[in-house]
Structures are given as C-alpha cells and as structure tokens.
C-alpha cells in the first residue's frame, strides 16, 4: 500500500487516488478442470485484503472471455452486488481459457484560476480537448494501460490464449499459469510493448490474510531479461501485480505512461 502511494506521488500534480490503494482481483472457483462441460464461476472485486469482498465490486462491462482457440467466449450469469461481481463461464472446449480485462485510459490534472482540478475518472483520450478548459495551466496527463487476467484449463494446458499481443504490460508464460504447484519455481517474462521489462517490481500476495498474522506479501524483481522467478511456499490462490512507468506515451499531451498487469494464480499441492 505504501509503495502504491509512493507511485501515486510520482505522478506529479496528481493527488493519491484512493483507488490506487486497493487491489483489483478476479478469483476463479477453480483453474484446473476435468470433464467436458465444466463450469467455472468467478468473483470480481476491489479490496485491500485478498480475497475478501468488502469494498467495491469490479464492473463487468470490460470483462471478456477467450476460448482455447483464441475466439471470444461467453460470460454468463453476470451480476454485480454491493461488494462483488460474479459471473460464470462454461468450459465447453478443452484447453486453456483466458478471462479478464484490458483497459486504456487517462488520468490528469490542471490548474484553473489557481485551483487544482482533476480529470474525471474514466476519462477517454478522445475527449481531452473537451475536458481541459482553454485557460487551464499546469496540465499533467498520464496515460494508463492495464490488464487483469486469469486462466482456467480444461484437460491439457494449451498456449493460444497466452500469446502476447505486443502492447502494454504483458506476461510471456515460461511456466504455464495452470501448471503451478507449491515447491516448484515458476518463470514468467514480463513484456512492455512486447519487449522484456527488466528490473520491474512485482508484488506477490497469497490469499487468506484474515487467518494469519503476517500478510506474507513479497515484492520481487524481474531480471535483466524481464524474467521473474517465483516460488510458492504453500498451495493456494496468489494475487500478482506488476507496474511500470515510462515516457512511451501514445496519447497526445500525455507526459508519462503507467502500465499495470494483474493476475490471480492458483497453486495446487504437488
């Protein structure tokens, strides 16, 4: 949490947005599935403690499902409650499915008549001209690109949906995300616009904090090739977030770019 506030402070001129201090998560009921028409149900929420829905639901508007062949699949029975959203996916094809969001947006602030103002949350780059008054000064615009995705495999793991797109912050799965067991190290390469993201910080948080004294969070770094080596001491669900800031902006007027990658990984007992 403190690290995130520090990042927020880095965004010059931006007040620390409360949303930055919370974790967005997708939590599947299962990730390794047998049978031909299994269902997986997913909780989607925003909270501090993992994986407890006690703050805000995640909106489902941008959640998409990718079938093992890479075509778009169906999100079913979606519902948004006070603290969480929930939806189902029927795994009617064998292989690895991807479920998640990919969002692009902007954050920004300006001064008007000496008063600090912020762009509304969810502002689109296309509306910048309308959103910033002609007499604004000290305009600061930050571009955001975030992914939050989970993987579920029916039968044998496949890799079609894992293929990086070459945009934003992504993971090249050197270890398959549905082939994780405690006691075995996993390797993942983080990519920014398709190129290895060396030396970035990755936060790894085991679920179930309510039932222990220490959060057991770890902040790990990718190596010179963008590779993160992570071991999982105990089975369970783990939340992982990586962030990267750079100046490779695509929105006119933006001075910096913030890239986020989030996933939830299920680690089984060997």
């Amino acid at each position: 949490m403190f690290r995130k506030i520090a990042i927020a402070a880095l965004l010059a001129g931006l007040a620390a947005a409360p949303s930055l201090a919370h974790r967005q998560w997708l939590h599947p009921s299962t990730t390794v599935v047998s049978g031909e028409k299994a269902w997986v149900t997913v909780d989607a929420a925003v909270s501090n403690d993992l994986f407890y829905f006690d703050h805000m639901p995640m909106r489902l508007d941008n959640v998409k499902v990718w079938r093992p062949d890479g075509t778009e699949g169906k999100l079913q029975n979606g519902s948004t409650g006070r603290y969480r959203s929930v939806f189902d996916v029927q795994l009617d094809a064998q292989g690895t499915w991807k479920i998640g969001t990919s969002n692009q947006g902007i954050m920004g602030s300006y001064k008007q008549g000496g008063e600090q103002k912020r762009l509304p949350r969810g502002a689109a780059a296309a509306d910048l001209a309308k959103l910033i008054p002609a007499d604004a000064t000290d305009v600061q615009i930050s571009e955001n690109s975030s992914r939050n995705e989970i993987f579920v495999t029916a039968g044998a793991p496949t890799t079609t949906v894992l293929k990086p797109m070459g945009k934003g912050l992504e993971v090249e799965w050197l270890t398959h995300p549905n082939d994780l067991v405690s006691g075995e190290a996993a390797k993942l390469r983080f990519l920014a616009d398709g190129k290895p993201a060396a030396g970035i910080e990755v936060e790894v948080v085991p679920g179930g904090v309510r039932y222990r004294d220490k959060p057991n969070d770890r902040t790990l770094n990718t190596d010179a090739n963008g590779v993160l080596t992570v071991d999982f001491p105990t089975p369970g669900m783990y939340w992982m977030e990586a962030q990267l800031q750079d100046k490779n902006t695509t929105v006119p007027g933006a001075t910096q770019r913030r890239l986020v990658y989030i996933t939830t990984l299920e680690v089984l007992a060997p």
Partner: protein
C-alpha cells in the same frame, strides 16, 4: 488335420508363461467409518525416472449421466497433472468403475493394453486415491525393468489407501 487343430492351442498355452512379463498389483481400499462414504477415485500409473507417465488404470464413476463422473478426475491431482489431463475419457482398457473397500487385484502384462512395452530402466508404480467428502493419498513403489522375476515391492497408505503391493513377473 483334426490333430493339428488341437495342437495349436496347446502350444500357445505352453508358450504363455514365457511371454507374461508383467506387474501384478494388489491394493487395499480401507473400510472407513465415516458418516458419508463414497468409493474413492483411484489411478494407477507408472513413471520412468524423469520420463512421461503412463496410466495403467483409473477407477471413477463411469455410470453418471452426461459423463458427470469425469468432473472429479482432477481431484486425483498428482495423476491428473502427470498424465490424466492429456487423456480423453473413457480410455479403453484403462477406465473402470470405482471399487468397493477390500483388496483389489489387477494385473498388467507387458506388450498388452496400457502397459505396453517398457524400456529397461528405473520406474515407480504410483497409486493415488481421492475420495469425495474425504482425503487424498498417494503411494509410490519403485521397481527396475526388466524384472528378474518374483520381486515384491510393498508400500502402504495411512488414510485413503491400505497396503499396496506390486509383484513383478519375468
């Protein structure tokens, strides 16, 4: 003519023992005093040192409609990761119904069915049981192939499996 026809099966029979290298497995499914009992799902497979696993048998609920019984195959979790997830069910000569508590005997013959041919080397025979509303347990029995004949490898579970014995036949 008549004589030849009779002689042929006799010859085959006498040749059979020499061909029947294989593994006899005896495993005990314990009788459990529990409020809700379901027969365990059981997988039997062999694993060469550092090689690909070969499933010899998997016992699960094959009778449920719409192949619903396959839903819990992944709960035989070590087997599922090593071998099960690459199979499509039912597997001929491998899939079978769940078995009642007691000692179950099953034989695998080299060159036939699921066992097929084994390259010489070190192997483990693995038996894993997972029970609905119950636990999971796995036992490993190391062996060398080809066998000298008559080797007996023993192991035992403590919860979901009783004694497991593999007898190697030359």
């Amino acid at each position: 003519m008549r004589k030849d026809l009779l002689a042929a099966p006799v010859l085959l029979l006498s040749a059979a023992p020499a061909l029947a290298a294989g593994i006899d497995v005896s495993l005990t499914i314990p009788t459990l005093k529990v409020a809700e009992y379901h027969r365990p799902y059981v997988a039997i497979w062999i694993e060469p040192a550092g090689g690909e696993a070969k499933t010899l048998a998997v016992w699960y609920d094959t009778k449920l409609k719409d192949k619903e019984g396959e839903k819990w195959l992944r709960d035989i979790r070590t087997w599922w990761r090593k071998s099960g997830r690459t199979l499509s069910f039912p597997v001929d000569g491998v899939s079978g119904a769940t078995k009642a508590p007691g000692t179950q005997k099953v034989s695998f013959t080299e060159g036939q069915g699921a066992l097929g041919r084994l390259a010489p080397g070190k192997y483990e025979l693995v038996v894993e049981a997972a029970r609905e509303v119950g636990g999971r347990e796995l036992v490993r029995l190391p062996f060398q192939w080809p066998p000298k004949g008559g080797e007996v490898v023993k192991a035992a579970g403590t919860a979901e499996l009783g004694a497991v014995t593999a007898t190697l036949k030359k």
